[in-house]
């Protein structure tokens, strides 16, 4: 078959089948063979033993988006895997690999017209002492997409602590099975460059450390937990610490307390946790204590679907706080950008003495991808600290709105950080003039922020613009690359404070705006309509999670519009 | 608590006066905050009087600086004998009440010094205590005279037409 620049495969099975481990090894093998790629995961609600699928894409170009279709779906068994049918779209050219001993593939998959290739995974594994069917499947998949066996072997060596020999032998059996099947092949890998294999959650954690965070308070929540788990040992290495809190109310308040003490601080959570943290974020605004919350969004409202992605926390992140509470909201627009966006959010929080929310999502957070090594420029966004001074006023009305912050331990500048409205000196005040002056000050420092070019990624030129943010950006980029002309992408990274003048300039000459977002009510569209002037006709392409947009859907939307325009 | 020396005794006496000074000043502040200017003024005056007493002790002893409380120092009661407890106040209190408080404090002080004068302390200490007790007795008399000049509070002085919302 003609080599292609991208191949997508999925490996599914019940708990205990080892599909995630095999998937990770396949991604690593592709990375070692010089390809880009990513793996996302989906799973049932069970803690252990539920159905799960590893969804991989291997490509000659950097990507963190899923493709339109999977070329291969392999399953160790078919129990309840049919539940993932919507997430695992197949096409007539696709291949279904299954173990005949586990029965026929479910009709929800075969009706796509995909070819079924039975491979006796369990029986093959049974030929080798200590071997598992998932390793046979790994070999089959590697063979079907044309990866070298050496890369599989190298990946297995990196990943397997026990049963390595049997594992490699099993993979070899699967690999040789694939050689007799008509599979797919990838174009040659691109020339080598510095690359990382990283998840969005790890990237955000690493960005936090690069931004200067040294205190993290943590309360476990899917899908943010891995971010906190990555940070726990990492913080210890860089001289910081992580405290597990009793709830999210505690974690945000611990972070505020540590930050008040002068240590840049962060917590990570998901929607339900963010809802609990909102009151304390208002305290951060009023008392001007920097703090960063990474919200790894999942479907809501309420508990929603904890393991799946959605961009539906935009409203609460922007407008959730009571009172007028100017603050920062930043959204990474690629998996790799989780590093820079989080580091930037820390810098903005510190330099403006304000809470910052980073809107990541489950898609980024739990996806692992091969990315070009991010280059982080050193940022000079630091907290303005007070030296001991006569007549120190913590909340002095400066022109920039930023007033020097005294750090406990500094002589002569003791003050009380207060969520009560206060005067310049920090003394509680219920007077109208103090309230107005402090509101102006807090608004001023945030609105005067000059984000430079970091406020958005602007790509392409055309009369049609796509406005989006976060993990929708990947599919839009790919749609544009396929379309090849006439479309301009503006993917916002700085959501608050809004940058109406910058967007106006970016949209000069644009006649149509397509707004792409992953939520039900069009939160991003409403935000754009309230904060910005959008030129020409505006359309919304949106749906709630968990299904990610596929590049072809976006491309068709653009094509249809241009044809009817 | 035994009082071993004149220095020790005088430092206690000084501390008593100082704490009384500070407490009356706090009372003045509290009533200022609650818009009871008249009584605040009275407490401020009482505070000034106690401050003078404290200053006199420093001068008598020729102490250049303020002595600190001895380590592990404790009065037999909760606070120094001349210090009025915080719960003495009411936001609607009248000058007469303030003088009642002052009177109680002076009587406590008399008792404290009398006890030392009659106790087993060294002669110099007992003599000084006797002198202090007599001085406090003079204060008692002065306050009693003062009380005659201010009106006695009528029944229901503590009624607030906007009462706290307590009972259901």
């Amino acid at each position: 078959m003609k080599p292609t620049p991208s191949v997508s495969v999925a490996l599914a099975g019940s708990g205990g089948a080892g599909v995630m481990t095999a998937g990770n090894m396949l991604l690593e093998a592709a990375a070692l063979a010089g390809y880009y790629g990513l793996m996302t995961r989906t799973s049932g609600p069970q803690i252990r033993g539920g159905e799960a699928a590893a969804m991989l894409r291997v490509a000659t170009f950097p990507t963190d988006g899923q493709d339109d279709r999977f070329q291969v779906l392999a399953a160790i068994d078919w129990q309840n895997v049919g539940r993932f049918a919507a997430e695992l779209p197949l096409a007539p050219g696709s291949i279904i690999v299954g173990d005949p001993a586990q029965g026929e593939p479910p009709e929800v998959f075969t009706r796509s017209g995909a070819r079924y290739l039975p491979v006796p995974l369990k029986q093959l594994a049974g030929q080798l002492a200590g071997a598992w069917p998932n390793m046979v499947a790994l070999g089959v998949l590697a063979g079907l997409i044309g990866l070298s066996f050496e890369s599989v072997e190298a990946a297995a060596k990196k990943a397997m602590k026990k049963g390595l020999e049997a594992g490699i032998a099993a993979a070899r059996l699967g690999f040789s099975q694939a050689s007799s099947l008509e599979g797919f092949s990838l174009e040659k890998p691109p020339s080598s460059s510095a690359r990382w294999l990283i998840t969005g959650n790890e990237a955000a954690g690493y960005g936090a450390l690069r931004g200067g965070v040294r205190f993290v308070a943590a309360y476990p929540i899917t899908p943010a937990t891995e971010l906190l788990e990555w940070l726990a040992p990492a913080l210890a290495k860089v001289g910081g610490t992580l405290v597990q809190a009793e709830d999210e109310l505690a974690s945000i308040n611990m972070a505020l307390g540590a930050s008040y003490g002068g240590v840049p601080s962060l917590t990570a959570t998901s929607g339900p946790g963010l809802a609990l943290m909102i009151e304390a974020l208002g305290l951060g605004v009023a008392a001007e204590v920097p703090v960063v919350v990474v919200d790894v969004m999942r479907t809501g409202p309420s508990t929603g679907i904890a393991t799946k992605s959605e961009q539906a926390d935009l409203n609460i992140a922007l407008y959730g706080m009571h009172g007028d509470a100017p603050h920062i909201v930043v959204a990474p627009n690629s998996l790799a950008d989780c590093v820079a966006a989080t580091a930037w959010a820390v810098g903005l929080a510190e330099s403006l003495q304000v809470p910052a929310i980073v809107l990541s999502d489950q898609y980024f957070g739990q996806a692992r991808a091969v990315v070009d090594a991010p280059v982080l420029e050193k940022q000079s966004l630091e907290r303005l600290k007070a030296e001991g001074a006569e007549g120190y006023k913590r909340y002095a009305l400066t022109e920039s709105g930023i007033s020097p912050m005294a750090i406990p331990g500094t002589r002569g500048t003791a003050y009380t950080a207060d969520g009560l409205e206060h005067n310049e000196g920090g003394t509680p005040s219920s007077q109208t003039a103090d309230h107005l002056a402090q509101m102006d000050k807090r608004a001023r420092k945030v609105s005067q922020l000059d984000p430079g070019d970091a406020w958005a990624s602007i790509e392409g030129e055309g009369e049609t613009a796509v406005l989006t943010f976060g993990s929708c950006t990947g599919p839009v980029r790919e749609a544009m690359a396929r379309n090849g002309k006439g479309v301009k992408l503006v993917s916002l990274r700085l959501l608050s404070p809004a940058q109406p003048e910058r967007l106006r300039k970016a949209l000069e000459g644009v006649k149509r705006v397509l707004v792409v977002e992953q939520n039900h009510s069009g939160q991003f569209l409403r935000y754009l309509r309230s904060e910005y002037q959008l030129p020409g006709e505006v359309r919304s392409l949106r749906r709630p999670g968990p299904l990610p947009f596929r590049p072809e859907e976006v491309r068709q939307e653009l094509l249809n519009w241009e044809e009817t325009a | 608590m035994p009082v071993p020396s004149l220095e020790d005794f005088m430092s206690r006496a000084y501390t008593m006066e100082l704490e009384a000074t500070e407490r009356y000043a706090q009372f003045a502040e509290q009533l200022d905050t609650h818009n009871n200017r008249e009584v605040a003024q009275l407490f401020r005056k009482l505070s000034e009087i106690e401050a003078l007493h404290a200053k006199r002790i420093l001068e008598e002893m020729g102490w250049p600086s303020v002595p600190a409380l001895p380590p592990a120092f404790a009065w037999s009661g909760a606070e120094a004998p001349e210090t009025a407890p915080f719960d003495s106040l009411h936001y609607l209190m009248q000058p007469y009440h303030a003088l009642e408080i002052a009177l109680r404090c002076e009587l406590e002080a008399v008792k404290y010094f009398d006890d030392i004068a009659a106790g087993a302390a060294p002669q110099r200490v007992r003599a000084a205590a006797k002198e202090m007790a007599d001085e406090e007795r003079e204060h008692v008399a002065l306050i009693k005279q003062w009380m005659k000049k201010v009106p006695r509070p009528a029944a229901g002085w503590d009624e607030d037409p906007d009462p706290p919302r307590i009972a259901g």
Partner: protein, 278 residues
């Protein structure tokens, strides 16, 4: 002649700010403030090395009345804020002020976990069995038959027993003080600051406005009749059966405190890139 005792570096009044309390005249919290400032003077601390952290309520107004560093946060969350501060800045002395509503009701969960976490904090709860700032509603420690606008027939609920709960949650040091004895409070607070680990000091602090009958507490309180125990079983029995007016240290354990920030860094953040590099 020289002064008989070396003058302390700072006097109690040096720990007060010029900001005047809004507490009612007669309130027990004035006395706690005095106890705090006396203890800090006694400990020869400097105000800039002390932080006073609180939530919301009458009691929680304390930070701004001191000239230490203060953190007046949101309702119920003083303990987490103080925990973050102390872990991040272990060299600071951190006092936490709270009340029965702030500390036992909205902040109840943090109380349990602060007791078991054993971070080196001095936790002072001013208990007056009523919400004062919101003008007289029953709190977790209010008697079941106390009538109020919000609970006209009384709550009918048994009172929360903070000392027993602290013990059951693993508190290492439990004491009860009384606002009528500011010097006694000062001594307890000073002991609390010296004690490594979490020190829970419940202070009976009358509300003269909404619970004027609490002025009678001064007749009810008495020193604890026995020395503090280090046996949690015995402490549990004592705390369960005491009359609520025993004053002094009631339980004294020896659990090691929670440790603060990691030692010196072994890596720079950039060094951690090796975890991702292919």
């Amino acid at each position: 002649m020289n002064a008989p005792f070396a003058a302390a570096a700072l006097q109690p009044k040096d720990f007060k700010s010029g900001y005047k309390p809004v507490w009612c005249p007669g309130c027990g919290d004035y006395s706690v403030l005095t106890g705090v400032t006396k203890a800090l003077a006694m400990l020869e601390l400097r105000p800039e090395n002390v932080a006073v952290v609180s939530g919301i309520g009458c009691s929680s107004r304390i930070p701004a009345y001191t000239n230490c560093y203060g953190f007046h946060g949101v309702h119920g969350r003083a303990l987490p804020a103080a925990t973050g501060l102390k872990v991040a800045r272990p060299e600071l002395t951190v006092l936490v002020a709270s009340g029965d509503g702030d500390g036992y009701s909205i902040g109840g969960n943090h109380f349990l976990h602060a007791c078991r976490r054993n971070v080196d904090l001095t936790y002072i709860v001013m208990d007056n069995h009523v919400y004062g700032m919101t003008k007289g509603q029953p709190s977790p420690t209010t008697e079941p038959d106390w009538r109020s606008k919000l609970a006209p027939g009384g709550t009918g609920l048994r009172e929360f027993h903070p000392l027993v709960i602290a013990l059951a949650s693993g508190a290492n040091f439990i004491a009860r003080g009384f606002s009528g004895d500011p010097n006694g409070l000062a001594a307890l607070i000073a002991e609390a600051v010296r004690h490594p680990g979490f020190y829970f000091l419940e202070v009976l602090s009358p509300c003269v406005t909404f619970r004027p009958e609490q002025r009678g507490w001064k007749e009810a309180v008495h020193p604890a009749p026995v020395a503090p125990t280090d046996d949690p079983g015995r402490a549990a029995r004592r705390l369960m059966t005491d009359d609520g007016f025993n004053i002094g240290v009631l339980y004294k354990g020896s659990r090691a405190p929670f440790t603060g920030m990691a030692a010196a860094p072994t890596d720079s953040p950039e060094d951690l890139e090796c975890l991702f590099r292919l």
